[in-house]
């Protein structure tokens, strides 16, 4: 590489990398340190090594300082479950629509994509809050069902896990839709024909050809939805009536009400490690696909 090239590279790469190193990697590092320090009485930390925050979660807490409580793992698993259900529901909502839109004439395609992106321009919280209005006891759905005599007492739709998942699906639709759409759109339809031609009926063609070929988009969208769903604390607060505690709420609570920064950081580290595992799984899966059939197939995740 010539000196001029190196200078150019430095100019292009330098500012961004310095920025990210200082404001992304250093904060993460500080958080790791914080998670291993003792909590201060009114927030902040005491400078002494204190692994018990992790012990509280994972079961090796020294009873002299802290106490292990399985409730945290329970919250962990529940959050994972809700995030996973969100992923599945979002996928079910988006996949057929992506399919339909990808096979429309180009003019329509552009318009539909625009329609999907448009709600993004309203406030996320307002979009969530409107579901409170819809789902609540005296809301329109219950009103309609009562008026038609289908039910005689209001359904309890709001403040439940179901409502949380519904809300998350609603706000994460574009995150799932875009990558899935990208890979469906790229799907080579002659392969579908080839499959039929070779004697495979619609179901088998879907399972053996369409699904594997759109898998990169599905995997990419799933990762992109799973991770924020896991850490989300707003949807449980608004639509879960704060009755269902997820990881995000637990972490928020440590910082904003229990004043236990190290424990909050330790929990955040746990989330971070799940994220890294999910990301590595993604890289591994798409890497394997890459090796199998060329890089062209594995791009869906990036959109």
């Amino acid at each position: 590489m010539m000196a001029r090239d190196r200078l150019q590279l430095g100019l292009l790469l330098g500012p961004g990398l310095v920025f990210l190193a200082v404001f992304f990697l250093v904060p993460l590092g500080i958080m790791i340190v914080t998670s291993l320090l003792a909590p201060g009485l009114y927030g902040g930390v005491e400078w002494e090594f204190y692994p018990h925050s992790f012990g509280r979660i994972l079961g090796f807490a020294d009873p002299a300082f802290e106490e292990f409580d399985p409730v945290y793992l329970e919250i962990f698993f529940r959050s994972m479950k809700i995030a996973a259900l969100t992923v599945v529901a979002t996928l079910l909502v988006c996949y057929p629509a992506a399919f339909c839109i990808a096979t429309m004439p180009p003019k329509w395609k552009g318009f539909c994509l625009f329609l999907i992106a448009l709600p993004f321009f309203t406030s996320l919280i307002v979009r969530l809050f409107v579901w409170v209005l819809i789902l609540r006891q005296a809301g329109p759905i219950n009103g309609l069902l009562m008026a038609t005599g289908l039910i005689d007492r209001p359904l309890e739709m709001i403040y439940s896990e179901g409502a949380i998942i519904l809300g998350m699906v609603y706000i994460f639709i574009p995150f799932m839709f875009m990558p899935v759409y990208a890979s469906v759109e790229k799907l080579d339809w002659t392969l579908v024909r080839a499959s039929q031609d070779l004697g495979a009926g619609p179901v088998r063609t879907f399972l053996r050809v369409i699904l594997p070929l759109t898998a990169p988009g599905i995997i990419g969208g799933s990762v992109i939805v799973f991770i924020p769903a896991l850490g989300n604390f707003i949807v449980p607060a608004i639509l879960g009536g704060a009755k269902v505690m997820m990881l995000g709420n637990l972490i928020e609570q440590q910082f904003l009400s229990a004043r236990n920064w190290p424990f909050g950081s330790a929990l955040a580290m746990m989330v971070l490690s799940i994220m890294l595992v999910a990301m590595m799984a993604f890289v591994f899966l798409s890497g394997r696909r890459n090796r199998a059939h060329g890089p062209a197939v594995a791009e869906g995740g990036a959109a």
């Binding site: 539909c112 609603y170 990762v223 990301m279």
Partner: protein
């Protein structure tokens, strides 16, 4: 035939899909005309009051309005949000684009690891990043305020821009750069006249995405906004705890209408150019 039936089903499903997305928004629009100032859950009549207020045609409402005090704040929050969104969009677009260009143009040691690094801020859960930044700023003695919000949002918005621009670059035809050199253009001219024009849709897309996400970001901003700066989402979220203000609906509808208009104009202009 079966295929046609299946197609119809798919179209019907897609119609439902859009209904799912848009009916709630419609409801917001309806409620934005609800005259009940205290409790927007109950309909008490039609009014354009909230629009007039938001647009500044009316400053104070009748004696009955008890929540007016924060209309100013709401507008201030909107202003803050816009200021932040514009600044972050600018910074993140420049940073994200140049990193993407660097990785695209040069083969250098560990380029792939930078790519992973660039993915991380986007994929890290908001709450983790927000808290890490909070602890960082507090320890570094940096005053929490509009500056910290901009910095904090830029960390992950840079990633979004990077990814959008990168995918545009990946689809770009490198032989065009050669063609340009072949026709006598030096590197800088080639960049200006060939690379940049083709990159523009990616840059614009990345910037737009960054803007939208910045306007919407709650969690990270929530942790790193000082007391003196409140953004719209943070303000609305705080307000939710005490019951939502009707002006919020009006603002949401205005934002939607405005962006719809801008986007439609863009589409129209593009279709005319072709």
């Amino acid at each position: 035939m079966m295929a046609r039936l299946f197609r119809r089903g798919l179209v019907a499903y897609t119609a439902l899909f859009f209904a799912f997305i848009y009916l709630p928004l419609l409801l917001i629009a309806v409620y934005s005309f609800n005259s009940n100032p205290v409790n927007m859950m109950t309909w008490s009549g039609f009014t354009t009051e909230w629009y007039l207020q938001v647009l500044g045609f009316k400053t104070a409402v009748s004696e009955a309005a008890m929540y007016i005090e924060s209309t100013d704040q709401l507008l201030a929050a909107l202003r803050n949000s816009l200021t932040i969104a514009f600044s972050t969009t600018l910074v993140a677009t420049v940073l994200g684009t140049s990193i993407a260009l660097a990785i695209y143009r040069y083969r250098f040691f560990g380029a792939r690891y930078y790519q992973v690094l660039m993915f991380m801020p986007m994929l890290i859960p908001d709450i983790v990043l927000g808290i890490a930044l909070l602890i960082f700023f507090v320890n570094a003695g940096i005053h929490l305020g509009i500056g910290t919000i901009i910095i904090g949002q830029c960390t992950f918005l840079t990633s979004y821009v990077f990814i959008v621009v990168s995918s545009r670059l990946a689809g770009m035809d490198r032989s065009l750069e050669r063609a340009s050199a072949d026709l006598g253009a030096n590197e800088w001219v080639t960049f200006r006249k060939v690379v940049l024009p083709q990159l523009m849709p990616g840059v614009a897309g990345g910037a737009l995405l960054a803007f939208i996400i910045s306007m919407d970001d709650l969690v990270i901003t929530y942790f790193i906004s000082g007391t003196d700066v409140t953004t719209l989402p943070v303000f609305i979220f705080a307000m939710l705890r005490r019951g939502i203000k009707p002006e919020i609906n009006a603002i949401a509808v205005l934002m939607l209408t405005f962006s719809f208009a801008v986007a439609s104009l863009g589409l129209y202009l593009r279709s005319r150019r072709k």
